[in-house]
């Protein structure tokens, strides 16, 4: 058995002449929590549906354990899906929804009963057996969907923005619970979301997509700290993105002066995107300041203040636990390794 459970090779998909997926290559390891992250319409859901077997690639191959699965129908794949709006069976109660997969396999009644009860315990829905699914809250429906998908012991669980319909507090709770379930059952998760915080919190590996193309693939830490281009940097967290020029290795010019940085290997005088996280701009006084700017606005965000500081040539967004009043001139300092230089897209 190869180390990859699932492998997509040059997968292309079009709908009505519009190319949705543009030669996608990706691999999913066994027991991994992989997240497909991107804005709506980036092709992440289509990729998931191809893995689930609901769509067939126009070209390219989907491998499961090195077998070509292109023409294997969904019901023959050991893959289960949690759909975006749960797609619970409205004609069945909670118990029968969860038992659905086992009934199809014609399991004996007492095995069904044991396993459904076990699932109800897992998702904290004991006593809900006889309820009609349409009378459950969003969070409860979500739990039924999880139980229904997981009862079949799938090798892979596909999740299509499963938390999108829940409110903030519940979403955070379910993030923890989903991660727990994954660890407890040892199932591979392929997770689709447009919420970068969700992706960072839960994933072992994140794939950032845009316009049907994979932009970057890596651990949350890689993606956040070393984004490969300005789109990823902007999507994965708030960023200041400004134009600059690399005048040599470790030397960048932007915002009207030159800075030391930790990047190298660019063409001489190459035009680049400079990305600086708002929390990496430090307010300093005196000679340490590399830039001078005027505070234009302040918003209290709870953990920190968000200030807009206008320097010559660029207005930076700064996150800081300290706040300077609007109108004051402040000095800014950026550490070399906090300056991220990227090739223009």
């Amino acid at each position: 058995m190869s180390e990859h459970l699932i492998r997509l090779e040059n997968v292309v998909k079009e709908f009505g002449g519009k190319r949705i997926l543009n030669s996608i290559n990706l691999t999913v390891k066994d027991k991994e929590f992989l997240t497909l992250l991107g804005p709506s319409g980036c092709g992440k859901t289509t990729t998931l549906r191809i893995i689930g077997g609901f769509e067939t690639p126009d070209s390219g191959v989907v491998y499961f354990e090195d077998q070509n699965y292109n023409s294997v129908p969904p019901y023959k794949r050991r893959v289960n899906t949690i759909f975006q709006k749960y797609a619970l069976f409205t004609h069945l109660n909670v118990y029968e929804n969860i038992a659905f997969g086992l009934r199809i396999q014609k399991k004996p009644e007492d095995e069904i009963k044991n396993r459904v009860c076990e699932m109800l315990r897992l998702v904290n829905l004991e006593g809900y057996e006889k309820r009609s699914v349409s009378r459950l809250s969003g969070g409860e429906q979500q739990r039924v969907a999880i139980a229904r998908a997981v009862i079949n012991h799938p090798q892979v669980l596909l999740l299509d923005e499963p938390l999108g319909a829940l409110d903030l507090k519940l979403r955070k709770e379910m993030q923890v619970e989903l991660k727990d379930i994954q660890k407890k059952l040892g199932i591979t998760f392929v997770y689709v979301t447009h919420d970068q915080e969700e992706a960072l919190t839960m994933s072992d590996k994140i794939i950032v997509m845009n316009k049907g193309t994979i932009l970057q693939c890596g651990t949350p830490l890689d993606i956040y700290n070393e984004p490969q281009n300005a789109f990823v940097a902007d999507f994965i967290g708030e960023s200041n993105i400004l134009p600059g020029v690399m005048i040599g290795d470790y030397k960048a010019v932007f915002a009207g002066r030159d800075f030391e940085c930790s990047d190298f290997g660019f063409l001489p005088d190459e035009n680049v995107d400079v990305v600086i996280r708002p929390e990496d701009l430090k307010i300093v006084s005196g000679d340490a300041a590399q830039l001078q700017g005027v505070v234009r606005s302040i918003v209290f965000k709870g953990v920190h203040y968000e200030m807009m500081v206008e320097t010559e040539g660029f207005t930076f967004m700064i996150h800081s636990t300290l706040c300077e009043p609007v109108g004051t001139t402040v000095g800014l300092y950026i550490q070399p390794f906090d300056i991220h230089i990227m090739h223009k897209a």
């Binding site: 689930g52 077997g53 609901f54 129908p73 969904p74 019901y75 893959v79 289960n80 899906t81 759909f83 709006k85 797609a87 619970l88 069976f89 409205t90 004609h91 069945l92 109660n93 029968e96 659905f100 997969g101 009934r103 199809i104 396999q105 006889k130 009609s132 349409s134 229904r148 998908a149 079949n152």
Partner: protein, 270 residues
């Protein structure tokens, strides 16, 4: 319109709707000279075979409509969305044609030297003799009421969320199982509505039997007609029969309705 002004309005409408019903009650429970009596209902016993025949024919017509109409509605709902309105229109086409004309057309097709037998002769097959049999009456009823079965079932089927079908496939159901465990149970309200919409008019249908059954298989509808406009003029008996039919239909419908509202919880297919 405020609640207080709307009450008298509803009241007047109720009179408009209910007054004729009360009249029917009076007719049904009175004799020709106006005296109160149960005779009209007692007389109905004489027509037992007609009632039995009507219910049996309506029952079989409903079953046949379901057997033909459900797959038709299902196939329709799976067609390319662009062509669906055309097919639906095709199925509804006969409904816009006069009821008598539709039945007459079948009469000329089924006649002993009608179009069907002429066609069979052309291709060298022996003629069939259908006209003036219960089968012909059944055929006419199915033809007339089929759209009332297809449309409600179709309307429910097209509203079934594709995601539910995908969810069932995802959980291991092949095409047949998806149909048996998801699509059919979800379309059940449409089936109930179709069954009602076929059975109710079918059980009190008239003329069809006269035209296609050769008058040999009188049905309740024909019986009632005779009491009001025909030779056997007796509105008192006609009212009693109508009232009896209405009662039975209301009972059937409420049984059906209870069945439907419970279906979400209790209808479990083997």
């Amino acid at each position: 319109m405020k609640a207080r002004t709307s009450v008298p309005y509803i009241f007047w409408m109720a009179i408009f709707v209910v007054a004729p019903l009360i009249l029917v009650l009076i007719y049904a429970f009175s004799s020709k000279n106006g005296a109160p009596t149960f005779d009209n209902f007692r007389m109905m016993a004489d027509y037992g075979p007609i009632f039995t025949r009507s219910f049996l024919l309506a029952f079989f017509a409903t079953i046949i409509c379901l057997i033909i109409g459900y797959p038709l509605a299902y196939v329709l709902s799976r067609q390319d969305h662009r062509y669906q309105p055309f097919f639906v229109m095709l199925i509804m086409l006969p409904m816009w044609m006069n009821f008598l004309l539709r039945t007459y057309a079948w009469m000329s097709i089924l006649e002993n030297n009608g179009f069907l037998n002429r066609f069979l002769a052309t291709v060298g097959l022996p003629p069939v003799s259908i006209i003036n049999t219960p089968s012909a009456v059944l055929l006419g009823m199915v033809y007339n009421y089929l759209p009332f079965m297809v449309l409600p079932v179709y309307n429910v089927l097209i509203k079934i969320d594709v995601k539910l079908i995908e969810a069932a496939q995802d959980l291991g159901a092949n095409r047949r199982t998806v149909f048996r465990r998801v699509i059919f149970p979800l379309s059940f309200p449409g089936v109930l509505s179709g069954v009602t919409m076929v059975f109710v008019p079918a059980v009190s249908t008239f003329i069809i039997s006269t035209m296609l059954g050769g008058g040999k298989y009188m049905m309740v509808g024909d019986l009632i007609e005779k009491q009001f406009v025909g030779a056997a003029y007796n509105p008192h008996l006609g009212s009693a029969i109508s009232l009896f039919m209405m009662l039975i239909i209301i009972i059937c419908m409420s049984v059906m309705n209870r069945f439907d509202s419970n279906s979400g919880e209790e209808v479990i297919l083997p």
